[in-house]
């Protein structure tokens, strides 16, 4: 039986800004695909990745409506990762830094994203094979 690993990722970048977010999500997917349990601690701008009120928009420059534009939203990517975790028998624990959430007024997170504190980040790191911090550039 394969060893059950737990990996922790610490995210800092706000949505719609950096290619690092895309790479981070690829890493999460790869870990979940292997059935690993994954912890995510989001702080600073990254707490908005799971903000439930994110909304798609049309693209007037290219003459596309909302459906045609189908602008990707990070909250949907996170929900998809959570669904993928369930199919792989893995656990994806997503914790947002409460202080950072309050600063930005993004308290309404999607289902499954929890509010926490830097102490949760420490606990996650303690319980993981290793932790990767992905800071802003």
């Amino acid at each position: 039986m394969a060893t059950k690993h737990t990996l922790t990722f610490v995210l800092m970048d706000a949505p719609f800004e950096s290619a690092r977010t895309t790479t981070a999500f690829r890493l999460l997917h790869a870990a979940l695909d292997r059935g690993y349990d994954v912890n995510v601690f989001a702080y600073e701008g990254a707490v908005a990745l799971s903000f439930a009120k994110q909304a798609q928009h049309p693209n007037a420059v290219h003459g596309r409506d909302v459906a045609q534009e189908d602008h990707p939203l990070s909250k949907n990517w996170i929900a998809a990762l959570m669904a993928h975790a369930r199919t792989r028998g893995a656990d994806l624990k997503w914790v947002n830094c409460g202080l950072c959430v309050d600063e930005r007024g993004v308290g309404e997170a999607i289902e499954g994203a929890q509010r926490g504190s830097p102490a949760d980040c420490w606990k996650m790191a303690q319980q993981s094979s290793t932790t990767l911090v992905i800071p802003t550039k």
């Binding site: 790869a30 292997r34 690993y36 094979s129 932790t131």
Partner: protein, 108 residues
């Protein structure tokens, strides 16, 4: 002794930070650690054979494993056949594998 996986996403022609990462990799290797360098996003821009660079060449002259994210290579039109000798195209799973094995993973 735990290995070190260094992840570099910055364009080496734009940022001196990429050179510092190469220096760190070489120093860790000299200290006896297992070291791998994973290039991703614009970090892969220096791996084309014929690209002018110095720091990455120093890394390639050591036993440090240099991996280039296959997704990032495809995005930038860099074919695996055009990679410098010593650089291997690799999936992002390479990072996850080493993390699960307990390697220290560092991404500045």
């Amino acid at each position: 002794m735990r290995g070190y996986l260094l992840i570099e996403s910055r364009d080496p022609f734009e940022s001196t930070g990429a050179a510092r990462t190469c220096e760190l990799a070489i120093q860790l290797r000299a200290a006896g650690h297992d070291v791998a360098l994973f290039l991703v996003q614009n970090g892969v821009l220096a791996v084309r054979s014929g690209a002018r660079r110095t720091e990455l060449d120093k890394v390639l002259g050591t036993k440090i494993e240099v991996l280039a994210d296959d997704f990032s290579l495809r995005e930038r039109g860099i074919a695996p056949a055009s990679l410098s000798g010593g650089v291997k195209a690799a999936p992002i799973d390479s990072v996850v594998e080493r993390m699960a094995a307990g390697w220290n993973a560092i991404w500045h």
